[in-house]
Amino acid sequence: MTSLTVFFIGLFYFAALVLIGGVAYRIYEYSRTPAPLIIPTTPAPTTRSGVAMRMTREVVFFESLFKSNKWIWVFGWLFHVGLALVLFRHLRYFQEPVWFVVEFIQPFGKYASFAMVIGLAGLWARRFLVDRVRYISTPSDHLMLALLIAIGVSGMMMTFVAPTDIVALKAFALGLVVFDWHPLPNDLFLIAHLALVALLMIIFPISKLLHAPGIFFSPTRNMVDNPRERRHLAPWAAALDRNKN
């Protein structure tokens, strides 16, 4: 086993721990912080199932963004749908036998990478071309896009230009899952791809990527518009009731 393999085995276990632990901690933090007042952006659904529908439209179709700005919507949606397909396709490296749906998605997943990178490029272009967006962009906003594009392009290089030893790679990936470790092919694009993915996993819980779990906790989107019918009290607010009255 080469030192490269050992390093990447360690890196991926570490990255997975940080990602899962970090995001779990954030979700714990969001869920334990009360929303003391009913603040859905109205018109809002008046039932729980209505809220589930609203959230689904928001997460799947980016409803609010669609209302807001068609360019950001097109690029953002292309990127996210592309990423979803690509990620789903990557499940094949972690399972044997491969599920039928994963098999089915394989060709779409390959070309979805184009949608992903085009979307990212469009979003990045806005950071230079639109003065308002240029004003609010921080170095980390640029680097995040650079990172995602680098991940996408290095992956596409292996898919379309310089294939890596896919059998060995799958052995390596499966090995991580079942703790039966195998050597990692020494291939420039692969090494770059995996290192950047690990980096992305590590920064996920401390970056703006938290918008992914965050949206589900956004009170303006996940609250039911029923304040006249239900008394909504946060624990700390309920304490005021007891003390003063």
Partner: protein, 507 residues
């Protein structure tokens, strides 16, 4: 009126997104609050030695108490969707008036003191130390936000800048930088009973005068009762309704509707104000204290129903928060809530908006109108932000848009809506909401009104509209002041119940 010391934006038919102009409104500073009013509210009135620790400490408490602020600080991806949605940005071009930039004034401090990347690599993620300059920026730009929530409609994560502005103002207050206007109002409402500081006897006098006016006008003895125990309905309305023009015409409208319905109703001296500036400052306890006056008045007078007059933010607090803050509403199983629920009439939503009440009577055929009395008016309707995006009327989502328009169409013949994208949930703020209705912010108010004025202008040109109807005391006062800057007649603004008042037939 003295000429403005700033350039009033030119009117057009629609609002163009401006190129950013850094620092365009950096000079706009609302007057700071003085010692007596701040002390009464439990705040210091100047920065102490330990202001920085206090500010960070308060931010931490807010992050632990309000999920909105915690999630919103993390979730923003700087996508830019909100950047062209704020009326203050559209009117001033100051980039700090873009919702995301306004949030970032706080987010940069949050990142520096509460996140790992901000602690180790602040330059990378736009994190910055909290300095007096930061506080100054907050004081500027958290008072150039009317908390109208337009940005929250368009944010893919529903980030509501109003929540950040409220948190920012609370931290400012907590370290000793208050706003004179809001601070004084929060004193008056708690000490005297209303935002205008109108004492009981003066109120009684005013109402008697109004009764005489109505009698002279219509020949009908319409009463405006005050502090009547055992009345069925308690009407809680903004105090501007008692003496400001055009507000008072809506009060007369409510009185005529109650008269025509033949119900007993009353106003309360103790609760002679529907407005609640506690909302604007983001202090839950203050907002609760102010709201509690309504509960106390309702219990003292023994009323069965509580109805709220034409006021945008008051309706938000009443509709969305009263049940939480004061138990005015249904569903509470605790003693505190039940005490009031046992008294209130369970056949009705509590509280109810005056428009819901009037529309209900219209649907039942209980009110008779002579629509031709409004024929000299070509009417459009301005959706006030807190009604549109933070509350509801009726049973269906969106009732807050249809019910007031239905009333207008029932009492008048000529109605035209302003263009799509400027009404309904996309409505543009009047420019004076959220604690900004003060002369020290007149430049922001005039420029912030631009998108609404452009939309109004388009129906003035196209449909010969001459009346801007609405249901908010702050909007009424703001437009009365701002319309002339844009060349419109200040008398062309008025309440929906002013229209009702003109057309209603009394026996």
């Amino acid at each position: 009126m003295a000429g403005p010391e700033f350039e009033v934006p030119a009117l057009s038919d629609y609002t163009v997104v401006p190129k950013i102009k850094e620092g365009a409104t950096a000079h706009l500073k609302t007057f700071p609050a003085a010692e007596p009013t701040q002390t009464y509210l439990g705040y210091p009135y100047e920065l102490g030695e330990d202001w920085k620790e206090r500010a960070i400490d308060r931010m931490g408490q807010i992050l632990d108490k309000f999920r909105s602020v915690r999630v919103f600080m993390d979730a923003c991806v700087h996508c830019g969707a909100c950047t062209d949605k704020c009326h203050y940005f559209l009117g001033t071009a100051d980039p700090n008036n873009m919702p995301v930039a306004r949030q970032d004034l706080m987010r940069k401090v949050y990142r520096r003191y509460f996140t790992l990347p901000g602690k180790i690599a602040p330059w990378l993620v736009g994190a910055e130390d909290l300095t007096e300059d930061t506080l100054n920026q907050w004081h500027n730009y958290y008072h150039q936000c009317s908390e109208c929530r337009r940005c929250s409609v368009y944010c893919p994560y529903g980030i509501d800048t109003a929540e950040i502005t409220m948190a920012g103002r609370e931290i400012l207050n907590y370290v000793g930088i208050g706003q004179k206007y809001s601070s004084e109002i929060l004193n008056k409402v708690q000490k005297i009973g209303n935002n205008l500081g109108l004492p009981g006897p003066a109120l009684e006098d005013t109402l008697e005068g109004l009764e005489e006016d109505i009698l002279d006008d219509t020949g009908v003895a319409v009463k405006i009762p005050l502090d009547v125990k055992g009345a069925e309905i308690l009407l809680v309305t903004p105090s501007a309704d008692f003496f400001s023009e055009p507000h008072v015409d809506s009060l007369i409208g409510y009185a005529k509707v109650f008269h025509a319905a033949g119900v007993s109703w009353t106003l309360s001296t103790h609760a002679s104000e529907a407005g609640n500036f506690g909302l604007f400052n983001g202090n839950y306890e203050t907002m609760r204290n102010v709201a509690m006056r309504i509960r106390d008045a309702a219990i003292e007078l023994g009323v069965k129903r509580i109805i709220v007059g034409e006021c945008g933010h008051a309706w938000r607090v009443a509709y969305a928060y009263w049940n939480t803050l004061t138990g005015i509403g249904w569903g509470g199983a605790d003693e505190f809530s039940k005490q009031l629920q046992d008294q209130l009439d369970m056949r009705y939503p509590q509280p109810m908006h005056i428009c819901e009440y009037t529309w209900d009577l219209i649907e039942k055929g209980a009110l008779k109108f002579d629509k031709s009395q409004n024929d000299h008016r070509v009417i459009t309707y301005h959706d006030s932000c807190n009604v549109a995006r933070a509350s509801r009327m009726g049973d269906e989502p969106g009732g807050q848009f249809t019910i007031p328009r239905n009333i207008i169409k029932a009492v008048a013949n000529h109605f035209h809506d302003m263009p799509e994208g400027t009404i309904g949930e996309a409505t543009f703020c009047c420019g004076g909401g959220g604690g900004m209705l003060t002369d020290d912010l007149i430049e922001a108010r005039v420029k912030g009104a631009l998108p609404r004025m452009n939309a109004y202008n388009s129906v003035v040109q196209k449909d010969k509209v001459n009346f801007l109807a609405l249901i908010c005391a702050i909007c009424k006062a703001q437009f009365t002041k701002v319309l002339p800057y844009y060349g419109f007649d200040r008398g062309s603004v008025g309440g929906v119940h002013q229209l009702v008042s003109s057309a209603i037939k009394l026996d």
